[in-house]
Amino acid sequence: MIAQSFSLFILFLGFLFTSTQSLRFDLQSGHTKCIAEDIKSNSMTVGNYHVQKHDENIPLPDSHKLTVRVTSSYGNSYHYAEHTESGQFAFTAAESGDYMACFWLSDHNPAITATVDFEWKTGVAAKDWGNVAKKGQIDVMELELKKLLDTVNSIHEEMFYLRDREDEMQELNRATNSKMFWLGFLSLFVCLSVAALQFWHLKTFFERKKLL
């Protein structure tokens, strides 16, 4: 009886959550495919990838093994794996910016296409919720609500960030306008002064030569 209710309870929990899914794309031999994500500094990011096997029993041939590199926008490499069939990476982003995960398959004749399953989570989704549940000994509904709270906080922070960017944009536009104004003013001033200079020079010249 207890066991049955437990199993029901577990089933409930299973329906609370959407499952983790991965992104899938095709990679041709000799080609590189890069996927970029904008990550803020000090946020956790987790990624895992594997090459899809057509048949589970046959081991993957060498030609289907890919090389992966994850770099930041400044060029620092955070993960590098060569000739691997699957792998994962996790790091805390030290700098903000676009992080690129590049996959390539070495050239092969005839050209082959490998299907890569890739999953990249940052921020709230990357947090290890299993650990949080274990440490706090909290039940699943509370965990789900904690996740929602984290999501709301991240939305709030993102709004601040967007507002700051909008401020910067306004500042940029204002600076452009003022630069244009001053440049026009300067150009007009230079024109007039050159004309005045010429006028003055001719006048004094002719006066000096007693022509005027």
Partner: protein
């Protein structure tokens, strides 16, 4: 992938914790905000677990150095269901939001087609949202309404996050164009300014030369 834990022998509290851990590890929202460079055709696939799930998302073309004028054809976006039908098509656009109800579960393909020769970077976000309903349960189980409410709240928050990502991508594109505009405007004004300064200088020089030589000779001094 969702893991269903069925049945149960006698379960102590430690096992319950283990179950909690296992189940918590299999959840997450399905959403990625990524950018890819589209040369001609670029496709990504995403698995939709339940029929009737709402798939939503947006994409923005963050253009490269090419300044898009009104003649640019834009890019085409298509979504293909696992059965091969076109679920959604958006043609000739530089960015849009989309949403549809998945007619069946399976692997959906999201494709970007770039008709122009210059590669474009597309920043996109896809989210598959599921709200538990009666169909998910086996018979003689009942759906706790609070779980449905929590799922709806989660989906609402996801839509806010999606909107933010869309705004951020558009802001990035706007800022890129504003910086380019500033550079172009400055160049556009510096050139005539330089030409005017140069002309003034030459005129002055010629006048000086002329006054120094010709008039002296003419006036006999």
């Amino acid at each position: 992938m969702a893991r269903k834990h069925r049945g149960g022998s006698r379960i102590g509290s430690s096992f319950l914790l283990l179950y909690v851990l296992l189940i918590s590890s299999c959840f997450s929202t399905i959403s990625e905000a990524l950018s890819v460079t589209v040369n001609e055709l670029e496709c990504v696939s995403e698995y939709v677990l339940y029929e009737g799930d709402t798939v939503s998302g947006n994409f923005v073309v963050v253009d490269h150095d090419v300044f898009w004028n009104s003649d640019h054809p834009g890019i085409d976006f298509t979504v293909t269901s696992p059965g091969g039908n076109n679920v959604k098509t958006i043609k000739g656009t530089s960015g849009d939001k989309f949403e549809f109800k998945a007619p069946r579960s399976g692997m959906y393909k999201f494709c970007f087609h770039n008709p122009s020769s210059a590669p474009e970077t597309v920043s996109f976000y896809i989210h598959v949202g599921h709200i538990p309903n009666e169909h998910d349960l086996a018979k003689d189980e009942h759906l706790d309404p609070i779980n449905v409410k929590i799922a709806e709240l989660r989906e609402a928050l996801e839509s806010v996050t999606a909107e933010q990502k869309y705004l951020k991508a558009r802001d990035a594109r706007h800022r890129h164009r504003a910086a380019e505009n500033q550079r172009n405007e400055l160049l556009r004004n510096v050139w005539p300014f330089g030409v005017r300064a140069y002309k003034g200088l030459i005129k002055g020089l010629l006048l000086f030369k002329m006054s120094a030589t010709t008039c002296r000779g003419f006036l006999g001094r």
